[in-house]
Amino acid sequence: MILEFCKKMFGKSLWLFHTNCGACNGCDIEVIDVLTPYYDVERFGMKLVGSPRHADALVISGSVSRQVAPALRRLYEATADPKVVIAVGACAVGGNIWFDTYSVLGGADKVVPVNMYIPGCPPRPEAIVYGAALALGLVPKKVASRQEQHLPSGFSLDDYLARYSEGDAKAEEAGIAK
């Protein structure tokens, strides 16, 4: 009973520690926006704290640069277990336009395990609120991977791919450049 009581009381009070790992400040402004009375993510029990030791969740914005990667790793280790990592913005999710740059690792998930991805450049404050609500289980997930094909009827894609690789092998044998 005490356990259930604790779950009810503490289950939804995530304390956030916000880190900028090389962001342009766009996402940071949106994160601050979310904490204002207009969007008010504090009604879900979330608030910013000043130390990772007090935090339950890390909010990472910015494509993680090489310089900041060890610091982010240490920050992750300093956060008390159990912890949640939320990547905010296209940079932290997939690296944005710097995904393959030499000085950037391209995404927070290259350094620390990420539990919630919130894409957007920057994401709308509503999108961040949605991500927070999704993490708390208040709303359903709305995005899914999609595979669309436009092929002639009776066309088997797997067969074609198999034959294609066969054809490639034949062309290689015959010395024809692809």
């Binding site: 999710v93 669309e148 074609y160 034949k170």
Partner: protein
């Protein structure tokens, strides 16, 4: 001083509720809002314009013989809508969907596979006059299935096309003809 505080309190009470009831009620976005991009494989002609202009290169285009696979890695999409602007067939549309948060990154990757072999307008295969034109024209796949063309150039993946189309069939497969177009 107390009067000022009292006034402030009255103003605060008068303001009512300012917080958006957002996650429990849907919210309107501005009319020109650029959200998640949506694609339609039935309209795509595989020209690759979207992949060409995409700043974060989140649209990746691959040639597999006579197929074109277009992968949308929306995890790094910056919603600039340039793909929407260049698309000649309106195969890419901008939706108002901004609720794209997900616990799995794989949810943000989509792909479409498009059959490319024949001209999507006339239903016939391309044939250009000289070899240089042929190489510079995009999506050119040779003259006939499995045939060496008249300039001695092999289409990509000769073996595959031979196996796929045993006879010469320049016509576009009927299942690919769009509505409102004359049948080949």
């Amino acid at each position: 001083m107390f009067r000022a505080k009292f006034k402030e309190a009255v103003i605060c009470f008068g303001a009512g509720r300012v917080t958006l009831p957002y996650p429990f009620e849907p919210v309107e976005v501005p009319p020109k809002f650029r959200g998640k991009i949506e694609f339609d494989a039935r309209k795509c002609i595989g020209c690759g314009g979207c992949a060409n202009v995409c700043p974060p290169r989140c649209i990746v285009i691959e040639d597999i013989g006579e197929l074109t696979r277009i992968t949308f890695k929306l995890d790094r999409c910056i919603q600039c809508a340039r793909c929407y602007e260049v698309c000649p067939e309106d195969a890419i549309q901008i939706s108002h969907q901004f609720e794209t948060a997900t616990p799995q990154k794989s949810d943000l990757t989509s792909e479409m596979v498009v059959w490319m072999s024949s001209c999507q307008r006339c239903g016939r295969c391309f044939e250009t006059d000289n070899a240089i034109d042929a190489f510079s024209s995009k999506r050119w796949r040779g003259r006939g299935p499995g045939d060496e063309n008249k300039h001695g150039i092999f289409p990509a993946s000769t073996g595959a096309t031979t196996l796929m189309w045993p006879g010469r069939d320049f016509m576009r497969p009927e299942s690919l003809v769009r509505e409102g177009e004359p049948k080949p």
